[in-house]
Point group: C2
Chain length 357, copies 2
């Protein structure tokens, strides 16, 4: 059985991108993974570069690094959770997590002062810990206080021309190019610190330009080329392509009041018909339903159960109102438990952010 929220997973347009930039389909790798995440089985993670290499390291119990990070411009939400789940999975299977709090980028791209981003970062770290990132195998750092990232950001400008940057990012200002170089240094930090350590970077496909730049620079500086896996972003509940703070009704923060979150769920876009009668007769369309997407992204882990909902929706047995109630309970339950964990990790997060300040 193949459960996939977006039907064919890789669209024609994406297929072209894949060919152009040498990205491979993720699907054939799923069977090689121990207890793959719902996002892996269900097509949210849909592409990769050299992830087979990382799988080999996992199987042989050899060290590898998982690199990720975020600009600390806002609180984390359900979409962010998906990425952190990937990190936790890869960490559990042998990876050492490197997590960059990209506060210099937040300053350069968003004008966010360091004192503000520090507070947000503390909150972000609380979520990281509550979502299961194990500090014993993780290095969490701020770009603004990590000398090696800063140093290598400069060093990597060595092999980069303005033409290259224009080709990759368009004709942008210096500060954007510097942000990009800092990201390259972030991604190569595991190797800068520990020599040639295979590294995987979980990213959205929109981040692939950074991966391409990094691989180019890695080649020139005699590092291993980083592997990458590509995920789709969780859609906004309102139907927009991506959960974003610009559309607060479309996203649910991990620290959000569970009752408020439930209300958002109840206003979500679904694949329902105009009225009950029609829906009973014609059934709903789970492929466009944001509720179903949440289930599929991991809020229902059991494949059988997910398939049942899929069938009941399509056959008209399950109506949107009922389904939303169901989903709201799941999300409320998740948020309550997560927020309990957050309380537990709050002091630790403060300790970490002070340590790296």
């Amino acid at each position: 059985m193949e459960i996939d929220p977006f039907g064919g997973a890789v669209t024609e347009k994406e297929e072209k991108l894949f060919k152009k930039f040498g990205i491979s389909r993720f699907k054939p790798l799923v069977k090689k993974l121990k207890n793959p995440l719902p996002t892996m089985k269900r097509g949210f993670i849909f592409g990769h570069r050299n992830f087979d290499k990382i799988i080999k390291r996992m199987r042989k119990n050899k060290p590898f690094a998982v690199m990720s990070g975020i600009k600390p411009t806002n609180y984390l939400h359900l979409g962010s959770k998906m990425v952190i789940d990937e990190l936790a999975y890869l960490q559990k299977h042998g990876g050492e997590v490197y997590y960059s709090i990209a506060d210099v980028e937040a300053y350069l791209d968003n004008g966010l002062p360091f004192e503000k981003s520090k507070k947000i970062a503390e909150d972000n770290i609380t979520d990281l810990l509550a979502l299961g990132i194990d500090l014993k195998k993780a290095k969490i750092y701020r770009q603004s206080t990590e000398p090696l990232v800063q140093k290598f950001g400069y060093i990597f400008s060595d092999n980069v021309t303005k033409n290259m940057m224009n080709a990759i990012y368009g004709d942008k200002e210096l500060k954007l190019y510097l942000s990009a170089l800092l990201q390259v240094a972030d991604i190569l930090l595991p190797q800068i610190e520990k020599g040639k350590l295979p590294t995987v970077v979980p990213v959205g496909i929109d981040q692939d330009p950074h991966i391409r730049l990094t691989r180019d620079i890695a080649r020139k500086h005699n590092f291993l080329l980083p592997s990458s896996i590509y995920h789709r972003h969780l859609s906004a509940l309102t139907g927009d392509k991506k959960m974003s703070k610009r559309n607060p009704k479309g996203l649910i923060y991990l620290r959000e009041d569970p009752e408020k979150a439930a209300k958002k769920i109840k206003s979500a876009v679904t694949g329902g018909k105009k009225d009950t009668k029609k829906q009973r007769k014609l059934g709903g369309d789970p492929t466009v339903c944001k509720i179903y997407e949440l289930y599929s992204a991991g809020f229902i882990k059991n494949d059988k159960k997910l398939e049942e909902i899929h069938e009941k929706c399509k056959s008209g047995k399950l109506l949107c109102g009922e389904d939303k109630e169901h989903c709201a309970e799941i999300i409320k339950d998740f948020l309550r438990k997560h927020q309990e964990k957050r309380k537990k990790y709050r002091d630790k997060a403060r300790e970490i952010i002070e340590e790296i300040s």
Copy 2:
């Protein structure tokens, strides 16, 4: 009496530059300085921006900073000594020296690996100490290991556009622009560390673009605008404009064998005539003589003595051979004494470079 190796000191072309960029003549300030250096009295230091402000600090015994540095690409020579003498003078009169070993720039501009530049830097520091820089009032650091310089290099890209950089430096590659931003961070480091501390930067006029960029960025980031003083470079003994490693016959390293140095002195370009007879009759021209320039730059400190030589040369009493012998003795004596001091400071220099590595 006015002793000035270049006649009018400020040329017409320079006058235009001064007006265009708001640089003032140094000369009127000389009388306000306690025991000014020969280079100050004799027109080697010929321009400034807001140096009057620093003089006020000196007079009131208030703190100020003196910022300088060098790309550690080569050993220091007599030309470098002139700048270090300025630092030592300003330090003696109340300034705290900040000295940047610009190894990231050396990497980006010259491709010099850090391990090589570290060795050269150690040698440069030995000279700094032997020339009288007092470690109790000096911070010597490497760009590659000074996190605040690196961090602020990125931060300062904030207010810088590619157009600005093109206007100042021409259409160059990213790495050159990054080098420039690192220099800005170097110059503002005293204020980054200690708040609004008046700072003076002794530079060659060719470095003024960096000063202009720094002042622009300082304004936008609410720092005090740095003051600057502008010196002429010591000419090469062969007559080229500037002592440079590209022309080894034209320069004398501070660690050079004194006898070899004497030979270079004896091959120096002078203002002598074709033969002894002509010179006895018509006299020499000290204004183009590299020997006289060395005297004037400080190897003869006594103004009366310098004037005597000037007169004897012009009248034909002093011939070039004799004068070169005289100069060679002075330089040999200086080098011998300096190299004795170098021996004394070698261990300290090694200690410093290891501390900042």
